[in-house]
């Protein structure tokens, strides 16, 4: 074909790269892509460890019975928790997914391994700069950094360097797919999970561009180059980054669901078209939904607030519900074909001691709760009731932690053994981890939801205000802390399992040891 003959010089392989055949999937794994995926996954796990550490501290300290952190330590820890757990952990994991789905999954090389490492280096440096600036106490502004609150310039510089690194990763992802096509390595449609990650990458691109518009002026403001920033305008551009990034996370979570059912159950979506349309819907609906951050702001008309916040918020439930059906329906369909009978016979065929089943069930369940609470909170008159109460962390911990983080954990339990060709360390410990984490989060989210209904404020070191507060303000936050006390060690166990797998997991090339089946 003419197209193939006109491959630009830059797309030709520079040198022969070593590769191996994956014993479980039969895919060709190139060394460069494998190392890049693993490096980003390891950075993600370390970021999660930091995010979880600070999350555990602030979660326990918010209990009125404990309150052991002083204001400056508390607020710095809360900022660190937000940056590590809500930005660094998901984005590093998503970049790992971008490399994985654009190379290994397609039997292809990365477009440029060097570009991949440059992107990784920038992301790590940016993350460290921002993190150190927070730890120095010069950037106690929350991860949102609403001006006129101002952090040391290093805080914004770190964010921006991290964003540029992520941009390079998106470029490498797109060019890797183009290269695989041009070289004829793939000919048919993209696999569903590559397709999903491509949607996530497009959303990530949009969110980074919006973030640059917010953060570059904020940096100039921090340097004293410009006089003032309108916080409402900043909030618009910031949430163009912040909330769009949450849909990058949701899409990546759905991809992890499909990844888990593919590897654990050899199952797929009930219908390819249905699933792909659901992915595309996220692209259409996710951007305007940042409007819900303005529901009780002194800006925008009621019509705009309603359409951008409330209506779009409701509409965002559509693709998530579609994926929920496609994932569970796909598993059910596969098991029925293998002979499951009755209405719920297929559920009995699932191995409930499998870490894949544990993580998938926990993620689906808590994400459903988070979707529901998000729908409540995005309703204009109801936002007046729960804006900036503990109801907001209840929602975002259901979606980002209960939904996304558990799904990523479950997917990592399959991905990391395949990449390292080592057995998952600890065996069924991973199943215990997934169940314990789910249980802890459920209690934590119940406490936060209860507190939110009672109007307990979020983002505060103490909500004591010298007493005379409504009944339940203390009890709900103590319940939250009990959940944290279970979830935080369970989260730490994930980090231990990952690290031990990489350094001490038993080398194997037996497919069933790398990817144990999640069905009986």
């Amino acid at each position: 074909m003419a197209v193939v003959e006109q491959i630009p010089q830059i797309l030709r392989p520079a040198h022969e790269e070593t590769s191996r055949m994956c014993p479980a999937t039969g895919l060709r794994v190139y060394a460069g892509a494998q190392a890049l995926t693993l490096a980003n996954a390891v950075a993600a796990v370390l970021a999660l460890a930091l995010g979880g550490l600070f999350g555990g501290l602030i979660g326990l300290s918010r209990s009125p019975a404990l309150e052991f952190l002083g204001p400056s330590t508390y607020y710095a820890s809360l900022t660190a928790h937000g940056v590590a757990a809500l930005v660094l952990w998901p984005v590093f994991f998503e970049v790992a997914a971008m490399v994985f789905t654009s190379t290994i999954l397609l039997n292809a090389r990365a477009y440029s391994v060097a570009l991949g490492w440059a992107s990784f280096a920038l992301m790590v440096v940016g993350a460290l700069v921002t993190f150190v600036s927070i730890m120095s106490g010069e950037a106690t502004v929350m991860f949102t950094a609403y001006p006129p609150l101002v952090a040391t310039p290093a805080f914004y510089v770190g964010y921006l360097v991290f964003a540029v690194g992520t941009l390079l990763a998106i470029v490498n992802f797109a060019l890797s797919i183009v290269k695989a096509r041009v070289e004829g390595v793939i000919t048919g449609s993209l696999p569903v999970i590559t397709y999903g990650v491509a949607c996530a990458a497009i959303l990530a691109l949009l969110s980074i561009l919006s973030g640059l518009v917010a953060l570059v002026p904020a940096l100039f403001y921090s340097l004293g180059w410009i006089e003032g920033l309108d916080p409402i305008v900043y909030r618009g551009w910031f949430w163009g980054l912040g909330h769009t990034l949450q849909y990058v996370n949701v899409v990546a979570m759905v991809v992890a669901w499909y990844g888990i059912i593919a590897l654990a159950y050899r199952a797929g979506p009930v219908n390819q078209k249905f699933t792909r349309i659901a992915f595309i819907l996220y692209l259409v609906i996710a951007l305007p939904v940042l409007g819900h951050h303005f529901l009780v702001d002194p800006s925008l008309g009621t019509g705009v607030k309603f359409v951008g916040g409330t209506f779009m918020g409701f509409a965002l439930g559509i693709p998530s519900l579609m994926h929920g059906l496609a994932v569970m329906g796909g598993v059910e369909y596969g098991l029925r074909r293998e002979g499951a009978t009755g209405l719920f016979g297929w559920l009995k065929r699932l191995d409930w001691t499998s870490y894949g089943t544990a993580a998938l069930a926990g993620s689906l369940l808590i994400f459903a709760v988070g979707g529901w609470s998000g729908t409540v909170e995005t309703t204009l008159p109801l936002n007046l009731v729960n804006h900036n109460t503990m109801g907001v962390p209840a929602h975002l911990h259901s979606t980002v932690v209960g939904g996304m983080t558990i799904a990523f954990m479950g997917f990592a339990y399959y991905l990391v053994p395949l990449l390292t060709t080592r057995r998952l360390w600890g065996g069924k410990l991973a199943t215990v981890q997934a169940y314990a984490y789910t249980a802890g989060l459920t209690i934590m989210i119940a406490g936060q939801t209860w507190a939110g209904i009672l109007g307990v404020p979020r983002r505060t070191q103490s909500a004591s205000y010298g007493g005379d507060l409504p009944t339940g303000w203390d009890a709900s936050m103590n319940l939250n802390a009990i959940g944290v006390a279970i979830a935080a060690p369970a989260g730490a166990l994930f980090v231990v399992i990952m690290v031990m797998t990489i350094v001490a997991g038993k080398k194997t090339s037996v497919a069933e040891e790398l990817v144990p089946s999640g069905t009986h």
Partner: protein
């Protein structure tokens, strides 16, 4: 349902034509539920009694602070609170780390309370009433509310605004009509508030920073032992006061808004003292200096 295909491999050609009936039905059900939720939430905007305020304006921060001050002066009673007569808009200013003035409203009466911020973002939240509004500098928010029950309600800030965010609290009092009428008569008879006049005679005169920075115009003061009086003019948009502490002394002047004067007096022996602003966070922010008494 059609054949399920692996999500990690390319699907067989022809997948784009297949969209089965079960899934179509599911999508229709989801769309119906979205339509029902949308209809209810639109209806709420028209027939609900608890809706987001619709009045928002861009305000000049300095002019707004002066407006709050003038309003507070006019309706301030002897208890220091501002009693808002029915039919009058109320004005509040959020600042790091407090709310000014403290309002008293009449039961079962519709009020519009305008709120803006002197510095950073704040959150206006009335505990137990579940009213939460985002407050921003340069933006005025006019919330129309009808308090239905007499009592004292706690206001807190629910948007992180700095290291003393958790101390940012105030009160809103709701009283029956008779009490409001009686107090309005007293206010009318007593004329406007007497505080915030000129500097006391013989006082050391200082000033808060005009550009809203957390500092005085001086960092060193000296005085002779005996009764020392410091008068601080407040030309800034933020509420400030002047206070003296050290060697067992702890005296605070009244917290005054834009255009007011805060005065503090203390009997001081020779020694070194600190003069500062006692509004939470302001001393830590640099609003402090050394007073040397000889």
């Amino acid at each position: 349902m059609s054949a399920s295909e692996s999500p990690i491999a390319s699907p067989a050609p022809g997948w784009a034509k297949r969209f089965p009936r079960d899934e179509k039905l599911f999508v229709v059900l989801v769309l119906v539920s979205v339509a029902v939720m949308t209809a209810f939430s639109v209806g709420w905007l028209f027939w609900g009694s608890q809706n987001v305020p619709t009045r928002a304006e861009i305000v000049d921060q300095k002019a707004y602070a002066a407006q709050v001050n003038e309003f507070a002066k006019r309706y301030r009673a002897d208890d220091g609170k501002v009693w808002v007569p029915p039919g009058t808009d109320a004005y509040m200013l959020a600042f790091r780390f407090g709310w000014t003035p403290e309002l008293v409203l009449q039961e079962d009466t519709k009020y519009t309370i305008w709120i803006s911020s002197a510095d950073v973002l704040h959150g206006f939240s009335i505990v137990g009433q579940n009213l939460n509004l985002q407050i921003a500098p340069k933006h005025g928010f006019g919330a129309t509310i009808t308090p239905t029950e007499s009592g004292r309600y706690r206001i807190i800030c629910n948007e992180y605004c700095g290291l003393d965010h958790q101390k940012m609290t105030s009160f809103l009092t709701v009283v029956p009509a008779s009490e409001m009428a009686a107090t309005q008569e007293t206010i009318a008879a007593g004329g406007s508030d007497t505080s915030g006049g000129g500097a006391a005679a013989g006082a050391i005169e200082i000033s808060a920073d005009e550009a809203n920075a957390l500092r005085f115009n001086v960092t060193e003061l000296s005085a002779e032992a005996g009764t020392v009086t410091i008068s601080m003019a407040n030309p800034s948009a933020l509420p400030h006061n002047v206070a003296i502490k050290g060697n067992g002394v702890d005296e605070k002047g009244e917290i005054v808004g834009s255009g007011g004067t805060s005065t503090v007096s203390a009997d001081l022996a020779a020694g070194t003292y600190t003069f500062y602003c006692s509004v939470p966070g302001h001393e830590q922010g640099g609003m402090t200096g050394t007073l040397t008494v000889t």
